[in-house]
């Protein structure tokens, strides 16, 4: 166990904000970025299926080209690493078997022991396909990753700006996701705030705890 104090957690969650202006000259150090990527990989998901792809854009030209697909917001260009969160478009038994293979690889044991788990996931996938919510299910999981990412950045002292206002079709084309199993959902720019970002100084706006938390 290597826990942190409640003070550290809350100070960092209060310190973070949706960064409007990044310092384009500051890059996230390699050791910090490697940990953030590892945190992304460790994100929990439904059944453990990890129906996502994280595209980490650090190439300056590509970052710049994403600005026009982000309602001309400057964060993709000025941040250090621009992460595009993509969701799996559909879930089939091929993917379920790939996941089960990864369980056996990590834990040993026989594939036959996972027959019950396989049946449950296959039934879930068939229902999702029939009712048309497989992609939305994957998108929800991607948002867990987004939440984990923003909190992980915050505790490590890295600034971030979640960006839902992007054009997924254009992102898919630029990043080569067209025709693949994954499609762009949301992005999050990461890096360091510019010294003159006036939004950094504004008090955080949140509803009172009594308005959003109900005790039973």
């Amino acid at each position: 166990m290597n826990t942190i104090t409640t003070t550290a957690l809350l100070e960092q969650l209060s310190w973070r904000y949706a960064t409007k202006q990044f310092d384009a000259a500051r890059k996230i150090p390699g050791e910090i970025w490697a940990a953030i990527e590892r945190a992304l990989v460790l994100t929990p998901s439904s059944f453990g299926l990890q129906p996502w792809k994280f595209v980490v854009v650090s190439d300056p030209a590509v970052k710049k080209s994403l600005v026009a697909s982000s309602w001309n917001q400057s964060q993709p260009a000025d941040c250090s690493h621009h992460v595009v969160f993509a969701a799996r478009r559909s879930l089939d038994e091929v993917e379920i078997d790939r996941f089960l293979d990864s369980i056996v690889a990590a834990r040993g044991g026989a594939r036959a022991d996972l027959a019950g788990y396989r049946g449950m996931m296959a039934g879930f996938a068939a229902k999702a396909a029939k009712e048309g919510w497989a992609k939305e299910w994957a998108i929800r999981q991607v948002y867990i990753a987004l939440g984990n990412f923003m909190t992980s950045c915050a505790v490590l002292g890295v600034d971030a700006c979640p960006m839902e206002g992007i054009l997924p079709d254009q992102y898919d084309r630029i990043l080569g996701l067209e025709g693949t199993d994954f499609t762009t959902v949301v992005a999050c720019a990461a890096g360091y705030r510019a010294a003159d970002d006036k939004y950094a100084k504004l008090p955080k706006v949140r509803y009172a705890a009594a308005d959003v938390i109900q005790h039973v």
Copy 2:
């Protein structure tokens, strides 16, 4: 700044797992739980609109009654605090104005200065209502909160088990959410793992970084 080390973050994200068996005798200390609730309140959201309600269930009888609505999984009964993540069913201008009032309360200034922001959110809400995705938008935000919650619990050394396999209608009825602006989406039990939970000892299963992270 009160940052933590990459080692602490990754150790805690590796330590966590979807807890199957909680130690029913162990409760989360008040100071820790207060911080977790504060972390929930601080969750980032689209436009900052916080379209959610978090129902914290600690009453033993209610916790027990939720087991039958959770496919008879024991976590709601045995955990310390069972958190139900509920999403706002729709988004209207009344809610947008309430949010704008909270901005003025936190930051001062005149409501008139926020006219542009109001127009953007009102246009968004109208589009969401017309196209029928207001609730799904809110649900995605709730999943950010779920991700933040699980990571916050992990770094504080609190175990958690996300539960999508619940019956939202039954949860809504038990928790009194029927007929309100909010509806149950997902739950997450929090507390401490039982010493004999065999799942705690299993190696974590995740795809290799090369399979889920693409560098551009």
